[in-house]
Symmetry: C2
Subunit: 141 residues, 2 copies
DNA sequence: CGGCATCCCTATTGATACTG
DNA sequence: CAGTATCAATAGGGATGCCG
């Protein structure tokens, strides 16, 4: 449940933590680690949107671009490349004229997208909660 | 399950989609919508890390700063403010000298962080998968 | 249609210094 | 300790143009 991948004591009241076994198991909390980079690809500005869209089914490039409102051609291409590189997205080219490029999720991508959609649905449902909190916060300033 | 908040047909083979009822229900796929902004706060560069850390328990400012390796003082303060503003994080000041500021998750924040941790744990476990995919991708270039 | 390369600008970020 | 303010660097991202 908790992300206690490191063996050091996490909650030192003086704020001083030990340094034993810190690198035995990867942790997102360490800078420049693989898991943090992977999370970055997934949660980046357009990454999670592309994954959520592809969770609905496969898309061709421009259809996906229309689905993910506001993304530029450049950023979508860049995002999809990163996702493909990390094994989340599959890219299939049909040698027709004009060319057809189909994007879909790999198994890994599908499992990731499922978790992501789970998160998104929670947040979509809680938009009013957040809006109320924000209004209260802004009022007290 | 799927994020089919809009009523239009999503999968038009010609790539042409209708435009009926597009704005009836909020959707992350629309630009400048509240849900997308909220997602941005949560999945932003430091947002998800702060939430994951606070999911372990409450932290004081500098302890959290040490936990989230690599974050600058400025960005952590900024991130926490955004999370507090949207009702995910609670900030409690103890009027001692020196001052003590404790950060913890609200109920909403805790439920969000739980989903997030779920995603993080999947990705941490799949780091080897991603690494292999990446190696294969880079080799084919 | 589905890209990649280039230019260019501004928003984010990080260092540094200062404050209650 | 827990911030805020200021400034400089830089990476993100849009616009444009070209190509298979």
């Amino acid at each position: 449940m908790a992300l206690t991948f490191r063996k050091r004591k996490l909650f030192d009241s003086a704020g001083i933590v030990g340094s034993v076994d810190d690198d035995l198991i990867p942790s997102v909390f360490a800078r420049d680690c693989a898991s943090r980079e992977l999370l970055g690809t997934v949660t980046g500005k357009w990454g999670w949107l592309a994954l959520a869209a592809l969770h609905e089914g496969s898309y061709r490039f421009n259809a996906l671009r229309r689905r993910v409102d506001g993304v530029s051609e450049k950023m979508l291409a860049q995002t999809l490349q990163a996702l493909e590189r990390d094994g989340l997205v599959r890219r299939e080219v049909q040698a027709t004229i004009p060319p057809r490029v189909e994007y879909s999720l790999t198994d890994f991508g599908a499992r990731t997208a499922a978790k992501l959609v789970d998160l998104i649905e929670l947040l979509e449902a809680e938009v009013p909660t957040a809006a109320a909190a924000r209004a209260a916060y802004d009022r007290s300033r």
